[in-house]
Structures are given as C-alpha cells and as structure tokens.
Symmetry: C2
C-alpha cells in the first residue's frame, strides 16, 4: 500500500533543504506519496494560522511527516497564538508525538568542525530522548496577569503526571536496550517537586528493564558533563524544557548541527522527522544551507515509521559517501582541510542522489 508522507517545508531555509530531501526520496522511487502543506510563518501568511486545519488533517492521516523548520523575525512580535512555533507545538500535541529522539553523532569526516578537542568528541554517539508533549511547554495555568501588588507577572506551570513520565521512560529504556544499555535520567530533584516524581517513576520503571543500567543526574551537572566528557553517556532521558536545552548543547558538541536529524514519535510509531537545526532566516534564500540533516531525517523516517530499513541505510551510506568525496556546505566547510570543496544546497542534494 502506498505510504502517505506530509511534507512541511516551513520557514527560512526550510523549503530549500526540504527540496533536496524530496529529491532524494523521489530518486529512490519508493511507493510513497508526498503531499506538501503549510506550517509556521508560511501558514500564518497564507492561511492566518500557524497550523491550518488542512495541514493538521493531512498530518493525522499520514504515515509520517517530514518537516523543515519554522520561525523567523518576521513573526517574532506576533501574539503568542500567531507565532510560527505554535504550529510546531500544535502538531506535536495534536498527534501525540511525545517521544523526541535527538541523536548527537560526530561524523568522522567532520571531526575538525567541533569546538571541542578531538579526543573528547571522537566517536561521539549519544541519544537524547526528550518528552515532547508535556511539561512546562503545555502546562496550565499560564499567561501574564496582574498580581496582588498591582504589577504584571508572567507564569507557567511545569507539570508531569505519572503516566506521562512512564510513557517517555519506556521509550528511553527501549532505545537504550537497542544501544549500549545505559540510560541517564536528568532531573532537578533537589529543587523541583515535579522532577522528584519524575525520578521516582523512572526508578520504578527500571525494574522492568534489568539489562539497562540506570543512573540519575541533576540538569546543571548534565550541562557540565556534556562539555567535560560527553562520551560517558549512551542515552539520556528528560522532560521537554531540559531536553530542549541539553539536546541543543549536545548537538553543538559535534560542531555540525547541520548534519543532525531527529524523530518525534507517538504510541503508534507515527512520526514527524526534522533536522535539529532551526530555520536560519539569516541565510534563507541564498542556496547555501546544509540539506543533509533533512535528508538524514528522511532516512530516519524510512526506518522508524515506514519500515524500510534498507532505504534508510542507502541514504545514510550516500551521505557518508559525499562527505568522503569532500563535499561541504558552508556550515561544515573548513578551508584548512585538504581535499574538500564548498558546495551549495542543491549541489549537495544532487551529490547525494548521485551517490545513492
């Protein structure tokens, strides 16, 4: 049966990098139907909503969603409900995409791009499992109100129920089982009650996964340890807010965030796949953005949601090959490195297709 994939280019460099991922998927000539829809700022401009109804319905009906990126200065002063980010948060929530898998992998060909010493990051391969549909991102009550002293105060609620914690915990334990069987759960249980419950539920759950070694770390220490010795980690699991911060920090350890894909899955393994980087409005439209994270997101999509491991591996091998050939977009280009050549977005996409 033909698989349905909704393609959301989004804003900034989103449409450009998406065009290359689509090129690669088409080149594989799989039984997949791609349907393009609007989200984020592009959807606000065209349909006055960051997540239009037709986009949501197509996404709900699809086997998987491939997303570029959303956001940009154009919409930064919009009211909260009319910001591009609300489209992203909306689709995550509406589809129940609670498990966000963010690998931070150092490509050996790009080792010199990291700001860390080679011996600290060589061979880095960690996975951050971030809860994506709860926590302070969605907690109620929230807003800006006038307090008893007559001044304005802003407030948000950081909340997790046992079942929300258990659900993401299972996803993390299962991911660890398939990897090096070590899971580190991140909390701030010395200050925040919500993470006291987090730690307790994850600890309980560990009994069901005796082959996985569970540890706990405070979020401030985790932010340090990622810099000091990131290879001590295998899988990390944490809530929405801490996961946002730590996954970006971890991604940057590789120095090549333009290479990192991510997956957001729900209970049915329906998923949304997107690069870890953002919409980079400063370089949008110039044809210089790196499409590889989006192309690798398409590979992840084939693997996790479309059950086509072989095609996923073909894409990943092709990406590795173009790196071996020395092709580099501006973000990963190092003039000191012999045998490399700077190329644009489309040329990089073409090279991957040629390498397939």
């Amino acid at each position: 049966m033909t698989k349905q994939v909704v393609v959301l280019g989004g804003d900034g460099i989103g449409p450009e990098i998406m065009a290359e991922a689509v090129k690669v998927l088409n080149a594989l000539a799989l039984d997949i139907q791609l349907t393009e829809k609007l989200i984020g700022g592009a959807a606000i401009d065209a349909q006055a909503h960051p997540l239009p109804q037709d986009t949501l319905e197509a996404a709900q009906a699809a086997d998987a969603i491939l997303l570029g990126a959303v956001g940009g200065p154009k919409w930064d002063n919009n009211p909260m409900e009319l910001r591009p980010e609300k489209g992203l948060l909306g689709i995550r929530k509406q589809l129940g995409l609670f498990a966000n898998l963010r690998p931070a992998i150092l490509y050996p060909q790009l080792a010199s791009a990291s700001s860390l010493k080679p011996e600290i990051v060589a061979g880095l391969d960690i996975l951050i499992v971030r809860e994506l549909t709860g926590g302070i991102y969605f907690g109620q009550p929230r807003g800006i109100r006038t307090n008893e002293q007559g001044e304005r105060e802003g407030f948000n609620t950081y909340v997790y129920s046992e079942s929300e914690i258990r659900r993401i915990g299972r996803a993390a334990f299962e991911a660890a089982q398939k990897r090096n069987k070590r899971l580190c759960s991140i909390d701030k249980s010395n200050v925040l009650e919500v993470t006291v419950l987090w730690k307790e539920v994850i600890t309980e759950l560990a009994k069901e996964y005796p082959e996985v070694e569970l540890s706990h770390m405070l979020v401030d220490n985790a932010a340090m340890q990622l810099v000091r010795n990131p290879k001590q980690f295998d899988v990390l699991v944490t809530g929405n807010m801490f996961g946002d911060i730590l996954s970006d920090e971890a991604a940057m350890l590789t120095g090549s965030i333009g290479m990192l894909p991510s997956a957001s899955l729900n209970e049915n393994n329906q998923g949304m796949y997107e690069p870890c980087h953002g919409s980079a409005p400063d370089i949008a439209g110039q044809g210089i953005a790196n499409p590889l994270a989006t192309i690798l997101s398409a590979a992840m999509m084939l693997r996790y949601s479309l059950g086509d491991e072989a095609s996923a591996q073909r894409i990943e091998a092709a990406v590795s090959k173009v790196l071996d050939q020395g092709l580099r977009t501006a973000d990963i280009y190092n003039p000191q490195e012999a045998g490399t050549q700077k190329v644009g977005t489309a040329a990089m996409g073409d090279a991957v297709v040629a390498a397939l």
Copy 2:
C-alpha cells in the same frame, strides 16, 4: 568598625576548603570577625534543620557570608524540607540575595584543562548574572498531588513579576557597564509567557543604559553558543533555572570549575560568597579538594561587601602566583604539563598564604 563575616563550611569538601580560605583571611590580619555556623546536611545532623535559626540570625546580622558547599548522598532521600539544599535556598531567600554573579574565567596557566580547543577558550572572561530568589525555584503552587484521572502529578510554578525582573536587570546592566558593555538576555519567549514578560521588561530597561548594547537569545541557542563560541559573550542575564544550567555549562568551558568563585548580593550589597563547584562528597575528607575557588570567593567578598579592593587584589595576585609556581590540586593537575606539581588542599592554602 570590625566587619562581621559568617563562615558556613557546609558539607562534603566544604569544611576542608573553607579552612584554607579562613587561613588566608587570617593571614591578612584584617579587622574582620569570623563566626562559624552550620548549614545544610551538617545542620540537619546537629540541629535537625538545614538552616537553623542561629545560623540565619548570624547571617542576617553579618556584613557578608562565606559558604563552602552543601549536600550529599546521605540526605538525598530526606523529605524536601529536610534536604541540605533547602538551607542554601533558605538563606538566599531570607537575605534577599537576588543577584548571583558567576564569572567564567579561563586562567591562562590552566588553559590546557579545558575540553575545548585552546583558540575557542583562550582569554575567556564572561559573567553570568542569575536571578536567585524567584522563578521556578520559589514559585507557588508546587508539590505532588493526585489529578482528576486519579494519578499523581508533580507540578511547579515558574513565575516572575515585573519588579523582580527589573531588579535583576539593573544588576546586569550595571555589571555590563563596568565590563565590555554588552548584555545578552536569555529567555524562551517563543514558548513561555513568563519569559515574554522577562524580555519585555529587560528591553524597556535598556533605555536607561544607552551605553550598554542589549541582545536577546533563546536558552536553547545560548546552550549551543556557549559551546560554539563562548567569547561572543560579555555579560548574560537570566532567571534562576536557566541561570543554574547555563552558569554550570559556562564554568565547565574553562575546565577548572575548582577555580571559580561566585557572589550572591542583595539590595544593600550584603552578600554571600561561594565556590561554583559543589560539595563533591566522593572526595570529601581526603585533603585533595581545590580550595582556590573558596579563597577567590573570599577575595570577591572583600571587594563587593567589605569594601576592601586592595586585599581582594592581594589574594587574587597570590593565587595567580601559586599557579605560576606550578602548584596544582588533583582537579587541575595535568601530568603532561612540565613544571607542575600535585599538592593537597592544605598545601595549596599554605602556598597562597606564603605568596600574599
């Protein structure tokens, strides 16, 4: 008039490193009276409270407080109200120590200790200004309750009023004025309403400090940029939770968190001074901990709360001298570095005294 300083050794390595700072202060023969009190786990054990009344009263009456560190596994399973951290949070709140100044400075003598490439961190000198008595650390309501579905949920409230934001904003603008006049305010204003207000109030405040260049950055991006290119920053200002995470990340960029002091000030410049590192229970009692961050905290105390810039500089010069002499505690010792020698806690303190 004799200055009053309350000395709180605390837990783990706290008492050991504090003994060296006291040695240094005594060697200066200043008109300061030091009074030792208990806090944290030590206070729980001896007085059944992490912040006993006599400690609090002495601290309130003092010109300044010098703190080692609190916490340890012994008390980790205590109920929230009987954890060592509550002593620390209590003294911050009771004394109104809202402005936490956390410098991340790379000592040239210790450049090789960093996990980052030398060119990324050479000359690093940034200051994180963290709000310390508000935000999600103190927000109400909080706790663990049973929700409508009959399951437990943990919850905390992230809240800031305009005046709280303005107060820490002023401290940050003033710090930037004395430095390189660049201030970066960190928020998550694309998701959290409380930080929409934060950004708005800081932006308004900037009008009063025309000579300071203000920028804004999202917290996830800040976590990345600290790794990618920390020298782009001068002063960062942020709330309690983000400040906890980012200041630890920034401190670790130097590779020598055992060197970094911090100050927590209230409206009257009364302050508490403490090393950035924690109580390190794993090495407590072995006489190998690095006392320099605590000694440098004493220098900060002389500068900010006791009005004795000359003595502050004497201490800082002495610390620099012992580093030049090649003396290193285990945490900053690198066997590959010629001309260095591993020393213990007391020997390091003695060397600083000798160098005064």
